[in-house]
């Protein structure tokens, strides 16, 4: 990639990460614009990672005021009422995030994102939603998909000890490294790196054998409409649990996370309906998992926020830099088994 060189200041600050993804990726990052709607703990972790990585700009949207639940997983806001009262979450986070990296522009956008027209999204390379209803997610996902230039879409949801990331990169082309350098042999990579023969520059990678790869992502609507019996086998149980909860919140007109353990009877009814309609054994969505999610309500487990925010951060960096295999199209983490799993749920994968 041609264009301006990084400044001396940037080279010094980003030295360690340029050694990971190269100068071109760093230049692309510095020109990227990201929108984050909904600032729960997981989204805040993601924002921190993006500001540190040195993106061009970050726009925040969340006009809620500060509550106990918000403070519980947010490291950007001092728990001092005199400081935060009367101010919205996005303003408070913005102030704090600016401080992390003076080279990144952090700002706040007011208004109801689902009412914004499509052109608004043209300003962004990636849009990240959290604590949004399914309806809002679908609507914004569609708007992003209709833009002439790709706007990467991500939705992230953390319910206490488990969480979900959805990715829609539409038609995505990227450079895949073909050498066995990508074989997951840590020692080999480290050894090469340490001994100076692992070359991170673009030129060498290309000559090393790279291929252009294309992926087709379904929209959120398409992805979650796939009949459950058509899904790959052994899909994470969290996927189904999230669909049940999501459907419940939608039908009850609740905001995401506005649930409690007292909703269990209704949730179990919802599970039965969905499972019957989809010919899936009810036992595949364990009651204990649903209980866990319900009881958490809007609470997040901070280690899970860090993990989801970290994985999402890496994905957005990959998408912006066009380097590395991107995640397609769901990611799950659950502390119960400790696995971080990628699920590909698109029609093509099931045919």
């Amino acid at each position: 990639m041609d264009g301006e060189e990084l400044t001396e200041e940037e080279t010094a600050l980003y030295d360690r990460q340029i050694r990971v993804w190269g100068v071109d990726a760093q230049k692309r990052l510095s020109k990227a614009h990201i929108l984050v709607r909904g600032l729960n703990g997981t989204a805040v972790e993601f924002c921190k990672n993006m500001v540190l990585a040195g993106i061009g700009s970050l726009t925040l949207m969340d006009d809620r005021s500060v509550t106990e639940d918000v403070l519980q997983s947010n490291f950007l806001i001092p728990p001092d009422e005199a400081y935060y009262s009367g101010r919205s979450l996005d303003e408070l986070c913005c102030e704090s995030l600016k401080d992390f990296n003076p080279m990144v522009r952090v700002s706040v956008e007011k208004g109801d994102l689902s009412q914004f027209d499509g052109e608004f999204f043209d300003k962004f390379d990636a849009v990240v939603l959290s604590c949004c209803s399914l309806k809002t997610k679908k609507a914004i996902n569609e708007k992003c998909r209709r833009r002439p230039r790709r706007v990467a879409f991500y939705a992230i949801e953390c319910r206490d000890s488990c969480g979900e990331i959805f990715v829609d990169l539409q038609k995505y082309t990227y450079i895949q490294v073909m050498s066995s350098y990508v074989a997951p042999c840590l020692d080999y990579i480290l050894d090469c790196y340490k001994h100076g023969c692992l070359d991170t520059s673009d030129a060498s990678k290309k000559s090393d054998g790279t291929a252009e790869c294309q992926l087709n992502y379904p929209s959120l609507e398409e992805a979650i409409s796939i009949a459950w019996r058509d899904l790959p086998r052994k899909v994470s149980k969290v996927y189904f649990a999230m669909r049940v909860i999501e459907r419940f919140e939608l039908s009850e007109g609740r905001n995401p996370g506005e649930t409690s353990i007292s909703d269990l009877p209704l949730i179990l009814k919802m599970r039965k309906e969905l499972c019957d309609a989809q010919s899936l054994g009810e036992s595949y969505i364990p009651t204990s998992l649903l209980e866990r999610i319900l009881a958490a309500g809007g609470k997040e487990h901070p280690p899970v926020c860090a993990i989801l925010g970290g994985v999402l951060g890496q994905e957005v960096i990959k998408a912006i830099s066009g380097k590395g295999d991107p995640l397609k199209n769901f990611f799950y983490f659950d502390t119960a088994d400790g696995k971080g799993i990628i699920e590909d749920m698109s029609n093509s994968s099931t045919s």
């Binding site: 050694r19 990672n49 540190l52 206490d160 990508v182 020692d187 899970v304 970290g310 990628i342």
Partner: protein, 648 residues
């Protein structure tokens, strides 16, 4: 999940965090958010600019301050009422003894070097405090748990110590760029700017050493009235021209190798460079950082300079050292944050590479190699810190059954980016947590006690204040608090060969080596051997000990159950760097046998790296499809024992 009992355990816990760097910052934040209230944090480092891209508790204005202290202040802003005790100190200091460790419920490591990791491991074993160990490099990372009596200790698997190169490869027959870097940094730079009394092999390559040595002493010594530019040209011609010519006279050496090309300033820079430098001199006088790049107008550290550019940098950097940093000369050691030193070493390595037909590298790359810089990003550290806290909470709840080691991968394996593995059992022949003796093959007639202490006791065994016993006779001890005359006596003994010690060490001798601070001791059986292969055994001695484990189960966990047998990872890579760095060959990859053995070859063979692009891309999904992913457990990288079993 965050049940009442869990919260109680978290609130009551006393946690020791070792390291407030890349992982440490993320860890301290996540601990505080998770409800931990009593955290003791130790870090000996101060903040640098290159930390700020990921150590998010630090700002530009904190550069130079203690990491532990600044991290504490930053976290107290969002959790003002918790108790964080910062300590700007080395974890290896004697004040952090076993009694100190016993005060904690769990120890969490976010360290950057093998030495400190081993030290903490030993203290945790002695104090019987569970340890959560971690490391990251780039997008890769891992978290492991070590609980005495329940899992392996950190040292149950052999850890390779940093790579050393045979002297002759560095001095005479470099074949890779890293050899040129080592030459430029450890020999040339040290010779010109380091301690004059240090032994230096810069000229060990000629058949008639004496003549060459006399000659070179004159060359490297700058006469007080000698013009710096002329001196620089003289050094250039000597090390890149004359020395190569001398080396070429050893015809044996070049029978199967490409001959190097001698380089002289007059050939490389036919235009008179000296005048050019003179005219630029004024432009650099008031800069804060002395840099030959800026005085020559080279800006981009990513560019690969030509031979003539490297030569100009070399001469200019040498001149600048003499004119601007005279007071440093004689006591410099290479520092990756010393711009002029990095420029000098880059240029010198490139000129030498050019002479030997090795591809040249940019300053950015050369700096990474010379400084052993491991790449690091915030995201991986955040993920690893989250995983550490999850394991720490299990330990505090006494939930040892569900402890997991977790690997963070760059490319998914069996759909997993984060792969949990059941901890390994202790290695019964581990010399640290069991009492298995080690075997040392050494030439007892020629090897000095000093070699044994430095190469084996300190480097290989990681002891700092060792005590060496031959039966009940004390042979040697080191550490603080010794009487002067005792120290003097030991200094004399250090230069004696093992067989000539007052209590002679010969074949069959059993030595006991002990570190009282670490509360760790082990026995070493000595076996005499005459000859060592300089290429393969550059230490001139071979320590063998713990046999690679053969009967251990490595497990991938599925739905709380698991099975399958395989070898745990054998190789582990250790790096010293800003943040971390341990990454073990990731287990659980399902691969065809042919691929497996290929991978293993790569692990042990570092030679063909740059040309190593033949392997076909293997898509994780394509590796081997299996319906019962969740129930199948596999491992590992030893193809012979790779097995899989089905649950149910």
């Amino acid at each position: 999940m965050a049940s009442g009992s869990q919260l109680e355990a978290i609130k009551r816990a006393k946690v020791l965090m070792v390291g407030a760097g890349g992982i440490g910052c993320e860890l301290l934040k996540t601990l505080a958010l998770s409800g931990f209230r009593d955290i003791y944090i130790i870090d000996m480092d101060t903040i640098e600019v290159s930390n700020l891209n990921r150590q998010f508790l630090f700002r530009q204005s904190h550069v130079g301050q203690s990491k532990a202290k600044v991290a504490r202040d930053a976290v107290l802003k969002f959790r003002p009422h918790i108790n964080i005790t910062p300590c700007h100190a080395n974890i290896k200091d004697p004040e952090f003894d076993v009694e100190f460790f016993k005060k904690f419920n769990v120890v969490l490591n976010g360290l950057d070097n093998l030495d400190a990791r081993r030290h903490v491991n030993r203290l945790c074993l002695a104090a019987e405090v569970p340890l959560v160990e971690s490391g990251t490099t780039g997008f890769l990372g891992q978290v492991t748990v070590h609980v005495k009596g329940k899992t392996e200790c950190y040292e149950c698997q052999p850890k390779p110590t940093p790579k050393t190169y045979p002297v002759c490869t560095i001095t005479s027959t470099p074949s890779k760029f890293v050899h040129c870097i080592v030459w430029a940094k450890d020999l040339l730079f040290a010779k010109l700017f380091g301690d004059k009394n240090q032994e230096n092999d810069l000229n060990v390559r000629s058949s008639d050493g004496t003549n060459s040595t006399n000659h070179t002493e004159d060359v490297f010594e700058r006469r007080t009235d000698e013009d710096p530019e002329q001196y620089a040209c003289k050094i250039y011609d000597h090390v890149f021209g004359y020395n190569i010519e001398v080396a070429l006279t050893n015809e044996e050496t070049w029978k199967s190798r490409n001959k190097p090309r001698p380089l002289y300033v007059r050939d490389v820079l036919p235009d008179n460079l000296i005048q050019q430098n003179g005219s630029l001199e004024n432009s650099v006088t008031e800069e804060s950082v002395v840099s030959s790049m800026s005085s020559l107008g080279l800006k981009n550290p990513q560019d690969i300079w030509s031979l003539s550019e490297n030569s100009k940098i070399f001469l200019e950097a040498l001149r600048l050292f003499i004119e601007r940093r005279q007071k440093d000369i004689g006591n410099l050691t290479f520092d990756k944050d010393d711009q002029l030193a990095v420029e000098f070493v880059t240029a010198a390595a490139n000129i030498r590479a050019s002479s030997f037909g090795i591809p040249l590298h940019s300053l950015f790359e050369a700096k990474g190699i010379a400084g052993n810089i491991v790449h690091a990003v915030a995201t991986t550290n955040a993920i690893i810190a989250g995983l550490i806290v999850i394991e720490a909470i299990k330990i505090l709840q006494g939930d040892f059954e569900n402890l997991r080691m977790t690997y963070c991968l760059e490319h998914p394996s069996r759909k997993m980016l984060l792969m949990p593995v059941q901890p390994f059992e202790a290695n019964k022949s581990c010399y640290v947590c069991s009492e298995t003796p080690l075997l040392l093959e050494i030439n007892t007639r020629t090897s000095k006690l000093r070699d044994f202490v430095e190469k084996i006791v300190k480097n290989k065994l990681g002891m700092h204040s060792p005590l060496i016993m031959h039966g009940s006779t004390l042979i040697f001890e080191a550490g603080d608090g010794l009487e002067e005359d005792v120290v003097a006596n030991y200094a004399l003994i250090l230069d004696k060969a093992l067989a000539e010690l007052p209590a002679p060490v010969t074949s069959g001798t059993v030595l006991t080596v002990e570190d009282l601070h670490q509360e760790f001791s082990c026995n070493i059986n000595i076996k005499h051997r005459e000859e060592f292969d300089e290429e393969k055994e550059p230490d001139g001695m071979v320590l063998a000990g713990w046999i690679a484990p053969t009967q251990k189960d490595a497990r991938i966990v599925s739905n709380g159950e698991s099975t399958s047998a395989a070898h745990p990872a054998v190789t582990e890579m250790v790096e010293k760097s800003d943040d971390v760095e341990i990454a073990r060959e990731k287990p659980g990859t399902k691969r065809k046998l042919s691929e497996m053995s290929e991978m293993i070859d790569h692990v042990h063979d570092i030679k063909p790296c740059s040309s190593h692009d033949v392997g076909d891309q293997v898509h994780p999904q394509e590796v081997e499809d299996n319906d019962d992913d969740d129930d199948i457990v596999i491992l590992d990288e030893n193809p012979e024992t790779r097995k899989k079993k089905r649950l149910q």
